[in-house]
């Protein structure tokens, strides 16, 4: 918000001026604030109010099917949450999913970005078409990949069988470990283009001269990649990682659509747990506590990244 007020911020540093001008400046500042008010109100209504209401709810016993029993219960919901092995299990699984899918997306996204950064015929077309998966709604891509991974009828089974590869005729969704493969593949397929796009933008800011002079100094391709491309790409990399890590950490739709957390609870993630408490248990008090804890965990993750950005001086 503050960035929308450069005039107001700068004003404070100025030496005091004669009365009339000051009053005009004050009026201008008032106009500035007035113009920001609608945005603040909107933010308050859609972000601050729900957050505060959620905070209040989380200290209550509030189960929708038990009307009239709402009572303030202090930290009871949080205590129950901290000792729920199901939540801790889901948290570990969520972190595992986040680590694997973000790592794969980063590697694939970087590869894609490097390729489409080269100049070749039809580059525009390729650049546009790699974005297509990203434009597909998550629920749709999850359904698509669910169908692809069906035993016998699915495309993956067909491909593995005809290529003579191991893994044909597997019932992917009936194995606690294998069920993650379709989930991760679907997530990677959809989100790699996003990573590639951000990294491509980063690549385009690296001056060509650096590579030319490196070449003159006899650097090999991998040396200039390691010494020039990667260090200069770091801000873009961190931005892509922040976005992807947070949204992978909060993953819900892929899991909900593909496995419903199954088989058993082996693909259950924290957002699914949260949804379950809200919409199946109808326990809004407990659900609110879970939501708040998830928000704090996500903020902590974001803080780690922001700290890295700051200490490296990449954030200006």
């Amino acid at each position: 918000m503050a960035s929308e007020q450069p005039g107001a911020a700068a004003q404070g540093n100025r030496p005091p001026l004669w009365g009339r001008r000051r009053s005009v400046e004050r009026k201008r500042a008032a106009l500035g604030y007035g113009l920001v008010v609608p945005a603040l109100l909107a933010l308050g209504a859609v972000a601050l109010y729900p957050l505060l209401y959620n905070l209040v709810l989380s200290f209550q016993h509030h189960v929708l099917t038990e009307p009239g029993t709402n009572a303030v219960v202090g930290f009871a919901n949080y205590v129950a949450l901290a000792t729920d092995p199901a939540f801790l299990g889901d948290l570990v699984r969520t972190l595992g999913f986040t680590g694997v899918s973000v790592a794969v997306e980063f590697a694939a996204g970087l590869g894609l970005a490097l390729v489409v950064h080269q100049s070749f015929r039809g580059r525009g077309l390729i650049r546009a078409s790699i974005l297509i998966p990203w434009a597909v709604p998550t629920a749709v891509s999850a359904l698509l990949w669910k169908a692809f991974f069906q035993q016998q009828s699915g495309f993956v089974d067909f491909a593995l069988t005809h290529l003579g590869l191991p893994g044909s005729h597997l019932v992917w969704f009936n194995s606690p470990l294998l069920a993650w493969v379709p989930i991760i593949v679907s997530d990677v397929w959809k989100n790699t283009p996003f990573v590639a796009l951000i990294l491509l933008a980063g690549l385009q800011t690296i001056p060509r001269e650096l590579y030319e002079s490196a070449q003159c100094d006899g650097a090999r391709a991998w040396q200039s990649f390691w010494r020039i491309t990667l260090p200069l790409l770091r801000p873009a990399i961190l931005v892509a990682l922040i976005f992807r890590t947070l949204s992978a950490f909060l993953v819900f739709d892929v899991v909900y659509v593909m496995t419903g957390g199954g088989p058993g609870t082996s693909t259950e993630v924290i957002s699914y747990y949260n949804w379950y408490k809200f919409m199946v248990s109808l326990n809004f008090g407990y659900g609110a506590a879970v939501a708040l804890v998830i928000t704090l965990l996500a903020l902590a993750l974001a803080a780690v990244y922001v700290r890295i950005l700051h200490t490296r001086g990449d954030l200006t």
């Binding site: 001008r21 005009v24 400046e25 009026k27 201008r28 106009l31 007035g34 609608p38 929708l64 099917t65 038990e66 009307p67 009239g68 069906q150 035993q151 016998q152 019932v171 969704f173 009936n174 194995s175 606690p176 496995t259 419903g260 957390g261 199954g262 088989p263 058993g264 609870t265 082996s266 379950y276 919409m279 199946v280 248990s281 109808l282």
Partner: protein, 428 residues
């Protein structure tokens, strides 16, 4: 800089005034929209909102019924509000409406497993005060609509999960599960599936398990409402289902199957037996069906000591506690649940009537399969009628899925589910 500021000085307030006016206008419009509700006066036409599921033929049947109702009651206008076809989504949107004490929808179509939860939350009104006559309805349906001795939901159409079999491969429907295995094995070959059933982690797996559990003499909750999920009968039942997959009677793929997949397997002629709902029958009898004239529908088998159990599904009609028009809402419910309207619906959409006196000669002549289905309806067993059912079911779904995927033995999974359901019921 200075001059520009002066220039903008007179303009700014005007602009702000305009903004304020627009804002106020928008706000007033919103308020007006919220407040414009019809007042309830005797002879004036009132509008009631009917929230119901169903697309295509079902929507057509509903519209036909509403037309007939409005003709009979010119002072009541009915608008429909189509709920999501997905039961879970529809439930969640209704919970949101009820939770905010909204007076509409007035009349709501409720899945047979919802009325208890709605009643315990105080969202729907008891219907006893309208003195409904219940003697013609299937008893299982009536039971599903009662909570704490009061009637909260009127049965609209019934649905039961039965056993489909191929009359060209199996002479008579199996009476026991042992018999089913034997008959399926002798008819398998030619790439056929012995038993196609719903094994995905969702509600449909629970109804299949209830069918088998009852057949082995098991229950989910006993007569006192205490969970008995890990009873020897239930362990035997789940072991039987697990063995069906392990022994190849059912392909491993059933662990991801829902009704649609079972339907595909059975209609393509690939399955000897299949667990599914009545809607499949007319599809199998359609022109061009690979199994036309070759199928039968029977109550699920039972082992000695068990009882043939066909899980009850279907839809009920409930009335919003906060409706402004209780009398008019009841008129609609009463009309929709009359034998005549039910027959009309059965002929348009194939939804089986929830009352026995609707199975008239003319209905059976036009839709002969209802004769076989009716026999299964009598055995219809509701799932536990408790507001906690959705949570109990979720635990059973997890247990079944953990067994089918080989993570837990039937005993381990049911012990775990028992502990969890005990905690749910004791309010932890």
């Amino acid at each position: 800089m200075f001059t520009r500021a002066q220039d903008s000085k007179p303009r700014a307030p005007r602009w702000r005034r305009l903004m304020a006016m627009v804002g106020v206008a928008a706000f007033t419009a919103t308020l007006a929209a919220c407040g414009s509700t019809p007042s309830s006066t005797g002879s004036k036409t009132v509008t009631i909102v009917f929230a119901t599921q169903g697309l295509g033929a079902e929507a057509k049947a509903t519209q036909a019924a509403i037309k007939g109702f409005e003709k009979l009651h010119p002072h009541i206008h009915v608008t429909t509000n189509t709920l999501s076809a997905s039961s879970n989504t529809a439930y969640q949107s209704l919970v949101t409406d009820f939770g905010s004490n909204a007076p509409t929808p007035d009349v709501i179509t409720a899945d047979v497993i919802w009325p208890a939860a709605f009643a315990s939350a105080g969202w729907i009104m008891p219907l006893n005060r309208f003195h409904p006559s219940l003697s013609s309805f299937f008893p299982g349906m009536v039971k599903a609509g009662q909570y704490h001795g009061q009637l909260y939901a009127m049965p609209w159409f019934i649905n039961v999960e039965g056993l489909y079999y191929r009359t060209d491969l199996v002479k008579t429907p199996p009476k026991t599960f042992t018999q089913l295995v034997k008959e399926a094995k002798s008819a398998m070959g030619h790439g056929r599936i012995g038993l196609a059933f719903e094994g995905n982690k969702y509600e449909g797996a629970v109804t299949v398990f209830q069918d088998v559990s009852g057949g082995f003499g098991g229950q989910f909750l006993n007569a006192q409402g205490k969970p008995v999920l890990n009873s020897p009968q239930n362990i035997a039942a789940l072991t039987w289902l697990d063995n069906a997959i392990k022994s190849g009677l059912s392909p491993a793929a059933v662990t991801g199957w829902e009704e649609g997949n079972v339907q595909d397997a059975f209609l393509s002629g690939k399955a000897v037996f299949a667990t599914n709902w009545p809607y499949l029958f007319p599809l199998a009898e359609q022109k061009g069906s690979a199994v036309k004239g070759k199928i039968g529908f029977a109550p699920p088998p039972a082992q000695p000591g068990g009882r043939s159990t066909a899980s009850l599904g279907g839809d009920m009609l409930v009335i919003n506690k906060n409706t402004r028009y209780p009398k008019q809402s009841w008129e609609l419910v009463n009309y929709l649940t009359s034998a005549t309207t039910m027959v009309q619906r059965a002929l348009i959409s194939g939804d089986p009537p929830a009352r026995q006196d609707a199975y008239t000669g003319s209905l059976l002549k036009q839709a002969p399969w209802f004769a076989q289905e009716e026999k299964v309806y009598v055995d219809a067993t509701p799932r536990p009628v408790t507001p906690l059912y959705p949570r109990i079911s979720a635990r059973i779904q997890t247990a079944l899925s953990a067994v089918y995927s080989g993570q837990l033995t039937p005993r381990q999974a049911l012990n775990q589910a028992q502990t969890q359901v005990q905690a749910i019921i004791s309010g932890k």
